[in-house]
């Protein structure tokens, strides 16, 4: 988990915030939580049905960093606070 205090002075859409010392609680992890969704076809028929149109041409599945998230992350870590989980989230005890 990165130190959220590093983000306090990050320029973003809200402008250049003063680099104040600020202590953030760690966001609770999302990845690694047990899902409450059970899909009945282990082969995931839906992916076969929709795979031709809904997955990338290289066959990969969308990742968290796909789309605007990667752009957001590069631009201003504030906006991804709690959105982009870090690998170390799995070791995080949460808030």
């Amino acid at each position: 988990m990165r130190d959220e205090r590093e983000l306090a002075g990050t320029p973003g859409p809200a402008g250049d915030a003063p680099a104040v010392e600020r202590t953030y609680r760690k966001p609770p992890p999302l990845h690694g939580r047990e899902s409450h969704i059970r899909i009945f076809d282990p082969d995931n028929e839906a992916r076969r049905v929709y795979g031709e149109t809904q997955r990338s041409r290289d066959g990969s599945l969308p990742q968290e960093d796909d789309g605007p998230s990667a752009v957001l992350k590069a631009l201003d870590p504030f906006w991804t606070r709690g959105i982009i989980p870090e690998e170390s989230d799995s070791d995080d005890d949460g808030a």
């Binding site: 859409p13 760690k26 969704i37 009945f40 149109t53 789309g67 605007p68 752009v71």
Partner: protein, 453 residues
């Protein structure tokens, strides 16, 4: 939002619903229910986090399901194969009637524009955002609009800050016109057309306000009337596209007429440009209005919070996120289809069922946000709310909406010393439908010493 000529919504607008006390009382889509959604969410979270709506799936023999828990929605929006959008490429046979898309296309509109939205699959959906909309309204492009947005914010404040008595109707005199001014400028359309553009904008969201049930279904007469308005709007947008092809400017319409779309290695047709512009117009107006109005209500309810933001403007960004979380402008959308048999929290959901993702409920899930109704500027997961949805179809205009809200409160808290309700003049009623929009908010204010007029 005004009512239409063909339809009288007076009864719907004035409907009063009892506050639900138990699960049997909960009907999120009943007339008047919007005034008690927060209470209903508590009951649903505890007793029925996956609530079945019989017969309201993609076909008459399938069901709808309301999903209210944060983690379930989180998982669903990240699995577009098991839970695709109805009508999305690859879902042949699944009607889009009465459906909507997470990034702002209303259903009849989506039907009409489907071939022109340039997003027939996930890969192009991503390219569409990165190449076409992010540079203008996404996180990458929105920040360059800061001077323009600040100018409009100050202009609007100037119109009433020296008024005596110091009172405003905040929705009509600030929250509504700001996004109209900003989006019309970004699109490069004439500001003198604001009035008619507002009418067309309301037509674009009409089904979300006056449509029935979770699928926002309108009658044939309403559809016909709305189609007339949207047809006029389409003709207007075509005029703007033609004009910008001949008279380019520094605006999004011009950009779309000139850009070479790398994902397709070609320039866009007029119809494709119009499709993108339709989405920008519907997404950029009402929702930001609702967010700013709801945030004004939160500040008036918490005067200490107003003083806190005034003393430390760096906190405004966290306040805006909390405002959007607690009062999500789009409370829910029926934008996902179960493409196969699934089970969520033990509730069987057959293939073909429609899932109504209740973003507003997820934002108030106390498993994700302890004391969810409280504004807590130090929440560790502030930016993780569901107001813009998440995953690959996250709202493309989140950047510009956030920018407008941030600048609005940066300037308002600096130019005013207080912003309070006018006693006895507010009923805090919201419009019907699946969007949470205050009709009006009567406020009194104190001008800050040294604030320009």
């Amino acid at each position: 939002m005004t009512t239409s000529e063909a339809s009288d919504y007076t009864e719907l607008i004035n409907a009063v619903a009892e506050c639900p006390m138990n699960l049997d009382d909960v009907d999120l889509f009943a007339p008047g229910a919007q005034e008690h959604w927060q209470e209903a969410y508590k009951i649903l979270h505890t007793e029925s986090p996956v609530q079945r709506i019989p017969g309201e799936g993609s076909t008459p023999d399938t069901d709808g399901f309301v999903i209210t828990k944060y983690q379930d929605i989180y998982d669903i929006v990240r699995d577009p194969w098991t839970f695709p959008q109805p009508g999305f490429a690859g879902t042949e046979g699944n009607s889009t009637a009465g459906m909507s898309t997470e990034d702002g296309d209303s259903s009849a509109l989506a039907d009409a524009m489907a071939l022109n939205t340039l997003r027939p699959n996930l890969e192009l959906h991503k390219a569409h955002r990165i190449e076409l909309t992010d540079p203008w309204v996404g996180a990458t492009g929105a920040p360059r609009h800061r001077p323009m947005v600040t100018k409009f914010v100050d202009q609007l404040i100037d119109e009433w800050i020296d008024r005596d008595p110091a009172e405003i109707e905040f929705v009509e005199e600030f929250a509504a016109p700001l996004p109209q001014l900003v989006m019309t400028t970004i699109l490069g359309w004439p500001l003198e057309d604001l009035e008619i553009l507002r009418k067309w904008g309301q037509a674009q969201v009409r089904r979300f306000v006056y449509g029935q049930g979770h699928r926002n279904i309108m009658s044939d007469a309403e559809e016909l009337e709305n189609a007339k308005d949207l047809g006029e709007f389409m003709a207007y947008v075509q005029e703007q596209v033609t004009h910008k092809r001949n008279n380019p400017g520094d605006d999004m319409t011009t950009f779309l007429t000139q850009v070479t779309y790398q994902a397709m290695n070609r320039k866009l047709t007029d119809n494709e440009v119009i499709g993108v512009l339709f989405g920008m117009h519907i997404g950029g107006l009402e929702t930001t209005q609702y967010a700013i109005a709801a945030e004004a209500q939160l500040l008036a309810e918490n005067p200490e919070l107003f003083r806190q933001l005034k003393a430390d403007p760096s906190q405004v960004r966290f306040f805006a996120e909390e405002g959007m979380r607690i009062h999500a402008p789009t409370q829910g959308l029926s934008t996902r289809l179960a493409a196969k048999d699934v089970e969520i929290r033990g509730v069987p959901i057959p293939k073909g069922s429609i899932l109504h993702l209740r973003y507003g409920a997820a934002n108030l899930d106390d498993e994700e946000y302890p004391c969810p109704a409280d504004v807590d500027l130090a929440r560790p997961n502030t930016g993780r709310h569901m107001t813009f949805s998440q995953g690959i179809r996250v709202c493309p205009g989140a950047g510009i909406s956030r920018l407008e809200q941030n600048i609005a409160w940066e300037r308002l808290t600096q130019r005013l010393d207080s912003l309070e309700f006018i006693p006895g003049k507010n009923d805090f009623r919201h419009q019907p439908g699946i969007m949470l929009g205050l009709w009006e908010l009567h406020m009194q204010f104190t001008k800050a010493a040294g604030s320009g007029g």
